[in-house]
């Protein structure tokens, strides 16, 4: 259930393996009509790029720190 509420099996609709209640289905329909905003996409993509860079640098720093006792 997307909303996390507890409802009976008969009231839930499974779609692509995910269970939806009436409210969630209605929200989904609204989202289909009004696709995700560009702002949220932009924020996610910037976060992914930033985290990718951070991961690349963290790997080098942590690696160098872990092997520092090795002569």
């Amino acid at each position: 259930m997307r909303c996390g509420n507890v409802i009976c099996q008969e009231c839930a609709t499974a779609w692509e393996g995910i269970h939806y209640c009436v409210g969630c289905l209605a929200n989904r329909r609204v989202e289909e009509k009004h696709p995700s905003s560009i702002g949220s996409w932009l924020a996610l993509l910037i976060a992914v790029a930033g985290l990718g860079f951070l991961l690349t640098m963290t790997r080098v720093l942590v690696g160098a720190f872990l092997v520092s006792p090795i002569p």
């Binding site: 099996q9 951070l54 790997r59 520092s68």
Partner: protein, 273 residues
Amino acid sequence: MRADRPGTAAILDESTELVSRTGYGWAALLALTMLPLRFLEVLFADRLLETGKAAGEYGNTFRTLSLYVTLAFVLSIAGKAIFVRALGLALHGEGGTKRQALRIAPAAVASFLYASLVIEILLLLFSFTIVGIPVVAILSGLAAATFEKNDRPSLTRPFQLIGQHTRPIGPLVAIAFTFALAFLLAMINLFAAFGIGIWLAGAVPGVDVTTWTARLSLGNRLYVLLLAAGASVLVEPFWLAANVVFVRRVGSRENGEDLRQWFSQIRDDERAA
């Protein structure tokens, strides 16, 4: 009231069956996308151990190598997303066509990649603690198993979904412990398989196995790292399947699907009797 809990043994049984039901083609695709990452990680670790204290003098080399590892990480996330989707379709009896399994919502993949990057950074930061590694491994498994529920791009939703599925914690810890043992067993099996291979090759006239015996020994650091990489690729499909089954069981308890399945099983048993 039936006190049904997502038992570890049942989850492991179902996950093994689920991987075979999904088809080994999808597991092979997952392995293909995981191998570049594992090989590059091995190369990175081997070079680091080789240079030791002097690693700081080769900053550019390690940064470039680390960038390749990150790019391979992105590819591995795509492979995981496709495999988890194929598992989900098989689990819900929708079997589906190959095209269906490949049709993943961009928002779900982007959110999965975002959450996985955060978790990978946490893994690196906690890599020298004992408790941190299994905790981060559990989070990583849940991120994969819940990624399809991300139906819109969000910076918080992936972690909310992971948080919603961390209870009951008992089976999650038990699954992580089981897979840690499975990883060790896979390493031992791989080592034994290569050992048998060399032994058999030694029986072939004209084949000199002396060099290979030295290369494929536990004294060779690169070989041990490659064994670990191979073991993780072997265990990965079952690890993901166990997490998918766990998340599905937790979800089914919320909407009563477990009770429905239980009644259906009782009816089937009665008919069989």
